[in-house]
């Protein structure tokens, strides 16, 4: 099982994702530079948090044009698991791999805090090891994490069971408290909270392993098939 971690100029949670996968989960992890047109032989991809290209124009707006994102699109189309965390979620919506958008937090302030979340669905490669309705506590750290979409999209996401995580306390004004969603094929997930920050017992919280363990076992399954 090998996880590729995309590095954009301005990514700053890339090492955290690498550490969680390689040290806490004991899986292979490697970095993929933004101007690489190929993902190599990875079984799963993480788009990490940070400020890709300085988040100039809009968060994730420039990243979507990078060569690596063309490769990620193809990888996702072929069914490979893709996890976008924080800025990675923003990049996925900008790139059209996930619907909706992430805008400035309702109170216009960056928020760094541990928040409780409800696992809404376990029918996904990212949560199949969780319990439906389970509460997980994960850190958030973002200035633009307010999820918005038109009513039809929101209804569709709910009808198709594609909302993965919901905030139990409002921390950014997201519509319908949405913290994480899936694409139609259920192999691409974006979420604002940081599971990689809750993967090490020394950090005092390992709830993120619920998601990361699901993700790497799904990646391993995908590579066997």
């Amino acid at each position: 099982m090998k996880v590729g971690i995309v590095v954009f100029p301005g990514s700053n949670c890339d090492h955290d994702a690498w550490y969680a996968v390689s040290q806490n989960l004991q899986q292979q992890a490697e970095f993929i530079w933004h101007n690489s047109a190929s993902l190599g032989d990875v079984d799963a991809v993480i788009l990490p948090g940070g400020f890709s290209y300085g988040d100039y124009l809009r968060c994730g707006a420039i990243a979507k044009f990078s060569p690596v994102m063309q490769a990620v699109k193809k990888f996702a189309k072929d069914g490979g698991p893709v996890l976008g965390v924080c800025n990675g979620f923003q990049v996925l919506t900008e790139a059209g791999l996930l619907p909706g958008a992430l805008v400035r937090n309702a109170n216009l302030k960056f928020v760094c805090r541990q928040v409780p979340l409800e696992v809404v669905t376990t029918d996904s490669p990212f949560t199949h090891r969780a319990r439906k309705g389970q509460t997980v506590k994960l850190p958030v750290a973002h200035g633009e994490g307010c999820y918005i979409a038109d009513e039809r999209t929101l209804d569709e996401l709910e009808a198709e069971d594609r909302v993965v995580l919901r905030y139990q306390d409002d921390c950014n004004g997201s519509m319908r408290d949405i913290a994480g969603i899936l694409n139609e094929k259920r192999n691409v997930m974006g979420l604002m909270p940081h599971p990689e920050r809750a993967a090490d017992p020394l950090m005092g919280n390992t709830d993120g392993l619920t998601i990361l363990n699901s993700f790497v076992t799904a990646g391993a399954a995908a590579s066997r098939s």
Binding site: P9, D16, Y19, G54, D55, K109, F110, E196, L202
Partner: protein
């Protein structure tokens, strides 16, 4: 342009300083040269008023690899690892333009760290503002606070360094002169250290990073003058920061250093091109010749004067081995950054600045970097306006007083501030904001670094020497409380106008107090910053030395400050103390309940303090205790309350037996005291006995309530939820709805 006395004065150089320039050059300077001298000889760059006294500080120990004089101090932490750390002020820019002033303060100190080859792993901030509820200045103080916090968040979060702690204080004396002191710490291996030296005649001088613009011209000399009404017109002097550019610069510099082609490197901080060229040359005993036509420029038509004085951010100067320049340039190109050869290292010791071949400045590097005037300014006795005796202390409602203290700006939770900072990025923050000391682990080792940043203007206003010693003791105690051994110090000395003998006396007393305490606690000073002229319209700030001390400990899950379960015994290490009414004058109780300042700071016995610290360190390392919290501002009552604000909702029933008046007993701030909870009281008492310190079992933990009795009389009694609510939300109310803070409603 002729150099008239007016031109000299406009550069904030005195006639005698100008005479010194004439004799060093043997001729009249050009305007460019005058500009260069004015920034290098400014108080900000030259420390001309403080240098003779800074020499009194202890700077050596077995662990010190680099003391003062470089971009940052370096300390050995074992296993071939070292840390680089330093603090810098950005007081004046943050008053004029809070957001960018604070943001570029963060940017500047981060460059000081990674220019040495260290990857920054933590930032802390010490902030001081005027009172948020002040009738006249409250709104402005709120605006400055909001701008400063947003600026720090903007820069640190995007750069990807966690902001793990600090302090924030509100005091009238900072209303016209807020203090923004930023501390940064980085880690590297011993063989990764780089210095700011332009060695090797014939080597190339290379400019990297952002383009040069007209921003920040004369920032250093602005930071060395008092504020007047005209200061607002200096807003264009404040630089604009780009944290994304700095993040690229960090990654590119660390990668370029690995090529082995870099000989020396320094960031372009105050006075940009000027300070980096002459300081690197001076340290190596070489000359540096540059031609400005090669400098990447943001706008056309800049004069040599403007380019040499520009403080555009996110720029570095490096010296690369001749013939290997392309290896360095290739790395910067990968990161999309400019890297241009602008000059060469020469043998003649001169800073020679050309533009298209024409010479605009030619000054010996040493004259700029080392020959700055040094003043042994006259000093009298420290300025003091507070009386020795205060009002009669008598409280009718001690629980009410505790609530007022918990709601006050200095004591209340700083959640509103620190939740805007990413304090977890890099996943190393074992203990972040709200802890006595922050703890950041170093991955791949079993070592963690702990750090504490503290100041106390009130204590220092009453007694600069004793106040400073108390701050050092408090920092060391904070570190000990999380189990760390303090190993080194940095400091930011914030004062008024040193040309006033009573202010100069404050500076001297503080430095001597700092020297004495740092020597005693074996925490040598490896660097720091001095910020003078912090006065507005003639009113100086409180003397405010801010001290940052770092320590090391073995990586482990921190025990935390909060009570964990009901039924644990609560023990006060260091005892109840023996304060008198005069020693209450500097406390938060005096400030919040009496709106007053009088008397003397609490009494410190450094030897006793050291034994208390040894005790707690031992207990934390053995994990013989379940929680530990240092008694600081607000005294015993505030500490008991804070220990009750953990996620478990566990408080305590405290039973005291003391002759002290209840106000003193609850709220005095005597040092050398730590509150712990434990299931193994015997072990705690034995450790205290061994170190010959007092340890009193004062109560037991229980659910949901905090009560404090003395000889059966109930002094404080409240539900935790009520106290916690006041404490947690007060700062936000102070900012957005000051009326709600009245806790009697």
């Amino acid at each position: 342009m002729n150099i008239t006395p007016d031109v000299v004065a406009a550069h904030q150089l005195t006639p005698s300083e100008y005479d010194k320039i004439l004799s060093l050059l043997g001729r009249e300077p050009t305007l460019t040269e005058l500009g260069i001298f004015s920034v290098m000889w400014s108080e900000h760059c030259s420390y001309k008023s403080s240098r003779v006294h800074l020499k009194k500080l202890p700077t050596e120990s077995e662990r010190v690899l680099q003391g003062p004089g470089e971009n940052a101090g370096i300390i050995d932490i074992g296993h071939c690892l070292a840390i680089a750390f330093k603090i810098e002020s950005h007081n004046h820019p943050s008053f004029i333009e809070p957001f960018q002033g604070a943001a570029t303060g963060v940017g500047g100190i981060l460059r000081d760290i990674f220019t040495m080859g260290a990857r920054p792993i933590a930032v802390m901030d010490s902030l001081r503002f005027g009172k948020l509820d002040d009738v006249e200045t409250g709104e402005r103080n709120q605006r400055i606070l909001e701008g400063v916090v947003a600026g720090i968040a903007h820069y640190g979060n995007c750069f990807g360094v966690p902001t793990v702690g600090g302090e924030c204080v509100f005091e009238k004396s900072y209303a016209g002169n807020p203090l923004v002191n930023v501390f940064a710490l980085g880690v590297f291996r011993h063989d990764e250290v780089f210095y700011g030296k332009a060695s090797g005649v014939g080597n190339s001088v290379i400019y990297v990073g952002a383009k040069t613009g007209r921003d920040g011209i004369h920032g250093a000399s602005m930071a060395s003058a008092e504020f007047t009404e005209e200061s607002k017109a200096k807003r264009p002097n404040v630089q604009v920061g780009d944290p994304f550019m700095e993040k690229l610069l960090l990654e590119a510099c660390l990668e370029a250093m690995k090529t082995g082609a870099i000989v020396g490197i320094q960031d372009m901080g105050a006075a940009g091109l000027t300070s980096s060229t002459c300081e690197m040359g001076s340290r190596a005993g070489t000359g540096v010749e540059i031609d400005l036509q090669y400098v990447p420029q943001r706008e056309p038509g800049m004069t040599p004067y403007e380019m040499m004085l520009s403080e555009s951010q996110e720029r570095m100067l490096l010296v690369a081995e001749r013939g290997r320049e392309s290896e360095v340039v290739a790395v910067f190109e990968k990161w999309g950054l400019d890297a241009v050869r602008i000059g060469v290292v020469t043998a003649d010791g001169m800073l020679r600045v050309k533009d298209h071949g024409q010479v605009f400045a030619e000054i010996p590097n040493r004259a700029l970097a080392d020959e700055a005037p040094r003043y042994n300014r006259p000093y009298s006795t420290p300025l003091r306006t507070a009386p020795l005796d205060g009002p009669e202390i008598h409280s009718r409602d001690l629980t009410g007083d505790l609530k007022e203290l918990l709601a006050s700006g200095d004591v209340c939770s700083k959640k509103w501030i620190y939740e805007q900072y990413d304090y977890q990025v890099r996943t190393n923050t074992l203990a972040g904001p709200g802890s006595d000391a922050a703890i950041v682990r170093i991955k791949g080792t079993n070592t963690s670094v702990a750090m504490s940043l503290d100041g106390n203007g009130r204590y220092c206003a009453l007694d600069p020497r004793e106040g400073t010693k108390l701050i050092v003791a408090e920092c060391c105690r904070n570190l000990a409380t999380v189990g760390a051994l303090p190993i080194a110090t940095t400091n930011n000395l914030n004062f008024g106008n040193p040309e006033r003998p009573e202010i100069m006396a404050q500076i001297v007393e503080c430095i001597e107090g700092l020297a004495e305490a740092c020597r005693f606690f074996e925490v040598p000073v490896t660097g720091g910053n001095v910020s003078l002229y912090n006065e507005t319209l003639g009113t100086p700030i409180f003397p405010t030395p801010v001290v940052g001390i770092v320590g090391t400990l073995e990586t482990a899950l921190p025990i935390g400050t909060d009570f964990k379960r009901p039924g644990a015994e609560v023990i006060l290490l260091g005892g109840l103390g023996t304060p008198d009414a005069q020693q209450m004058g500097g406390t938060q109780y005096a400030k919040v309940i009496h709106d007053s300042l009088w008397g003397r700071p609490p009494a410190l016995d450094m030897d006793y303090e050291r034994r208390v610290q040894a005790t707690i360190r031992e207990l934390v390392r053995e994990r013989a205790i379940e929680s530990a919290h240092d008694l600081g501002e607000g005294g015993l009552a505030v500490t008991v309350a804070e220990c009750s604000f953990g996620p478990a909702g566990i408080g305590a029933a405290i039973d005291l037996d003391s002759e002290l008046p209840p106000e003193l007993l609850l709220f005095h701030e005597g040092p050398s005291r730590i509150l712990v909870s434990t299931g193994n009281a015997e072990r705690v008492l034995a450790a205290a006995r061994k170190n010959t310190i007092e340890a009193l079992i004062i109560g037991v933990t229980l659910e949901a309530r905090v009560t404090i009795r003395n000889r059966k009389r109930i002094l404080v009694d409240s539900r935790i939820a009520e106290l916690a609510g006041i404490w947690a939300d007060s700062l936000e109310h102070l900012l957005h709805d000051p009326v709600l803070v009245n806790t009697n409603v």
